[in-house]
């Protein structure tokens, strides 16, 4: 196997998507999570994760070529035994927008024809996806180049016979076979269109890819059988077909895949990745619905313990550790000689961004004449002030008062004093950057990249940093606020619900902003919204889309981490939006949706009155974002 990484290194902070990483880059930077190891099992799984949460990385890493490289280059005993003992062989099959775009552009097909075409296409796509995995298996399980070439030729010829039928060509290598299958898929598209345009196929034209017009995954099974026979693969090996990005498929497509999960108890297991609330049905074509826990299991990677810390209640450790590890891996993979050149340890995220004045715990001065106490007396509610005075000097003061309110006081003061050329510095520091990524690897990389780009604009080389924080807190804040605003602005063009969803998120953010900046502070800030089953269908739809895009996060309990709440529960606003709404990215209390809506209506009425009778008010955030 060619395990040598390319000598050419690129800046991996610019690649925020596992889809665009080479195999070596992904293997080098991948951080195995609990969900990853769970997926290496002989079970059907539906993997749920918001956009950017790492579904594609998991699915690609399960595929045999990636896992084999991981087993070879990293100290991961579980990966080694999975590959060397032939316990699992994974196949990665993305159902991307481009693929689905050629499936859904034929509205003239009736439901039956559409199903048949989907099945045909998934069959040929799974065989195309099988080919690089077959190559990887040959390279891993056969020693010697000559024997490997011979095995490849035998397999190619056998698969040509099975997949291209008796009259088809016989290919001597797998790449040629793969190209032929791709061409077949293209010609099939043209054939369907030609039938539409001309009413029929020209005389003598045979339907393309007849061998794939049979039951779902039968051609793939045949391929697996031939390869297993040729390489004497362990009989108990579980073959894992990772169908990535299934949110682009539709209800009927999911039903067809469900039918396979329900009906086939053999050694081919489906790992379907999709966004939360985007496993569209449990229905099958065989009259019995899928049963969660019996036919398959959900894996909710948004609640992965390695990525976040929701179960432990300790929000400052595990999630942060993931962010710090990812930063280091990206630095190492982008520039492995950097440490040697600089003669010091590789830069870590703390050197790079410094501490967060708002989130990091410091020894604070809370004397009666201290700045902190003055702020508390200025902004806190009378009850909170009274409780603080009661507890000061006791051990409980730190836990019950200062730890909870200090960040909010500092943020409110900064925003309050924002005038003229003064700039905010609140959204700075390593902990803040990582927190604002919501445990989402893609967002984390985007944030790191935005900050690195800012740093390079300040013309400082990354490895020559000597001062504690390479980028000014004001610069960091500006970068995080820009990114946060861009996340918010982009909501407007989301498919089907864009403007409505943006208004909805704006309503939540504005409510939370008002609570933090205009009302007396308590030790708990509102950062979540609670809904119950009285929620309208439309609002529920907005919440599900927001969860899918990582704009809201459901509070899931340790007892049922894989279960997504249905029309009731508590959802916290993404910390990624905190800089835009000037909120504290910290778990606080929840307000009921109906309360938030009432506030919003009242606020609108006030605005209308003010427009009618008084000077026009500036919008809430324009003046603050100077």
């Amino acid at each position: 196997m060619n395990n040598e990484p390319s000598k050419h290194r690129r800046n991996l902070f610019e690649v925020d998507n596992a889809r665009n990483l080479s195999m070596h880059e992904l293997v080098e930077t991948f951080i195995p999570t609990q969900s990853f190891w769970r997926l290496l099992s002989a079970k059907h799984h539906v993997v749920l994760g918001a956009r950017g949460q790492g579904k594609t990385a998991l699915a690609k890493m399960i595929s045999h070529d990636h896992l084999a490289l991981m087993a070879h280059t990293r100290d991961e005993p579980r990966a080694k035994s999975a590959v060397l003992d032939q316990q699992f062989i994974g196949i990665y099959l993305p159902t991307r927008l481009e693929w689905v775009g050629g499936l859904n552009n034929k509205p003239w097909l009736n439901e039956r024809e559409r199903e048949t075409f989907f099945q045909w296409r998934l069959n040929i796509a799974s065989c195309i996806a099988f080919i690089p995995i077959a190559s990887s298996c040959i390279l891993t399980y056969i020693q010697g180049r000559a024997k490997q070439a011979q095995a490849e030729r035998e397999l190619s010829q056998q698969l040509s016979k099975d997949w291209l039928l008796e009259l088809g060509p016989r290919f001597g290598d797998l790449l040629q076979l793969r190209r032929h299958l791709e061409d077949t898929d293209y010609r099939k598209q043209i054939q369907i269109l030609r039938q539409r345009v001309a009413g029929s196929l020209p005389k003598g034209d045979m339907p393309e890819g007849v061998a794939f017009g049979i039951e779902l995954f039968a051609p793939l099974r045949q391929g697996i059988k031939q390869l297993s026979r040729l390489l004497s693969i362990n009989r108990n090996c579980a073959w894992l077909l990772c169908l990535d990005e299934a949110e682009f498929l539709n209800y009927t497509d999911h039903r067809i895949i469900n039918s396979h999960m329900r009906a086939y108890p053999d050694n081919l297991f489906i790992k379907l990745t999709t966004m939360p609330y985007c496993h569209y049905t449990l229905a099958t074509n065989i009259g019995a619905d899928l049963v969660n826990g019996h036919d398959f299991e959900y894996v909710n990677i948004d609640s992965d313990r390695v990525l976040n810390a929701r179960y432990t209640g300790e929000t400052d450790t595990i999630g942060t550790r993931f962010g710090r590890t990812l930063f280091n891996r990206l630095i190492e993979a982008s520039d492995p000689q950097a440490a040697e050149r600089s003669g010091r340890e590789i830069l870590n995220v703390n050197d790079f961004l410094g501490e967060s004045a708002i989130l990091d715990q410091h020894r604070e001065d809370w004397d009666s004449s201290s700045e902190n106490m003055k702020l508390l007396e200025k902004y806190a509610s009378p009850e909170t002030i009274a409780r603080a005075h009661r507890l000061i000097g006791t051990g409980r003061f730190r836990n019950e008062i200062s730890r909870k309110i200090h960040g909010a006081l500092l943020l409110r003061k900064q925003v309050d004093e924002l005038k003229g050329n003064r700039a905010l510095s609140a959204y700075s520091g390593a902990r803040m950057a990582i927190r604002c990524a919501d445990d989402n690897p893609r967002l984390l990389i985007r944030i790191f990249n935005a900050l690195l780009m800012l740093r390079s604009r300040e013309q400082k080389k990354i490895m020559r940093v000597r001062r504690p924080s390479a980028i000014s807190p004001e610069g960091q804040t500006l970068a995080l606020r820009t990114l946060s605003a861009s996340i918010f602005n982009q909501i407007r063009s989301f498919q089907d619900v864009g403007p409505e969803l943006q208004d909805f998120i704006h309503m939540l953010g504005e409510y939370m902003h008002t609570n933090l900046h205009e009302k007396p502070l308590t030790t708990d800030q509102v950062t979540s919204v609670t809904i119950d089953d009285s929620i309208s269908e439309r609002e529920w739809k907005l919440i599900t889309v927001a969860v899918g895009h990582g704009l809201l996060h459901p509070n899931v309990g340790p007892g049922n981490p894989d279960e997504m709440p249905w029309k009731e529960g508590t959802f916290h606003l993404a910390y990624a939006l905190a800089p835009h709404f000037l909120l504290l990215p910290r778990r606080g209390k929840a307000a009921n949706l109906s309360t938030i809506k009432r506030f919003y209506v009242k606020r609108d009425e006030k605005k209308i009155l003010s427009k009618k009778f008084g000077p026009e008010q500036l919008s809430l955030f324009d003046e603050k974002s100077k």
Binding site: L97, L193, R194, F494, G498
Partner: protein, 312 residues
Amino acid sequence: MKYFQVLDIDFDSVRNNHYDVSLFASGYESRCIHVPGLIAPNVIANPFVFGFTEEAHSGKREQNNEFYIEKWRLEPIPLSGDDERPIYAHLQEKTQSLTRPVRILIDYSSMSRLWYAAVLNWARFATDKEVIMDFIYSMGRYEEEEENSMVIREMVSIPGCEGRAYRLRESVAVFGLGFNGLAALCVLDRLEADTVYAFLASPGSSEEYVAKTRRINKDLINNPKTKAVLPLPLASIETCYRNLAETIALHRPDGEITFVPMGPKPHILASILVAMRFPEVACLRVSGAPNPADVMPAGGIVATRVILTGES
């Protein structure tokens, strides 16, 4: 195998030409009738007007219908912007008896891209005759806000432009920039391409529109994945076609290349032509909810001749 030839022509040659079939559209925009108003009905043997079934009473639709009835003696044939089948039947019926090259005129200024792609697909797959298609576009003047806030309804391939959705190498997205900056970003987010190119109409129908397009799309233009932003003339599809083909040459045949034209229609046509020319290139149709804003003719006309020869 069919061979494409794409040529810029001048509008006078169109006015002096004779056509076997013409396709016009009636919708809510004023410019629907600009080109048909400049052409004499007697140069076209079989003219057709298709009237959008969507927004059938919005904007200038009724005046446009009346124009076609008065000048062309044609009642618009109702057709959804998402349907194209009747176009094949009309073309087949009116050209099957011809024993010489077929000449078709298409005014696509206010036409659904499915309709004009259908004419190209008909020429590709339904006839072995040489087909000469003159595509005419009337430049528009928009009286709109700074940016259109299009809510994406669907992202699918244009029929006949599915490309090859299995890549051996990198994925490449080529964006035609228009006034929907956020929607373009949303598609970029979905496509997750390794490499991005963008092109915009420059020179366009006005200098102001060039600056506006750059302003609205600054996030996509400044995206680290965007390798180049190509200014391509609105008035020359021949140049656009050649430049776009050269731009993607580096990534063919193993890259997975997707065009996402969101700018003016001549650039959409150029993208469709490139996708039809190269099997590995896809062209996506990003559609939103209808926004029945009027578009007035700005005066300029882009005329393009596409010649298809060879056996289907």
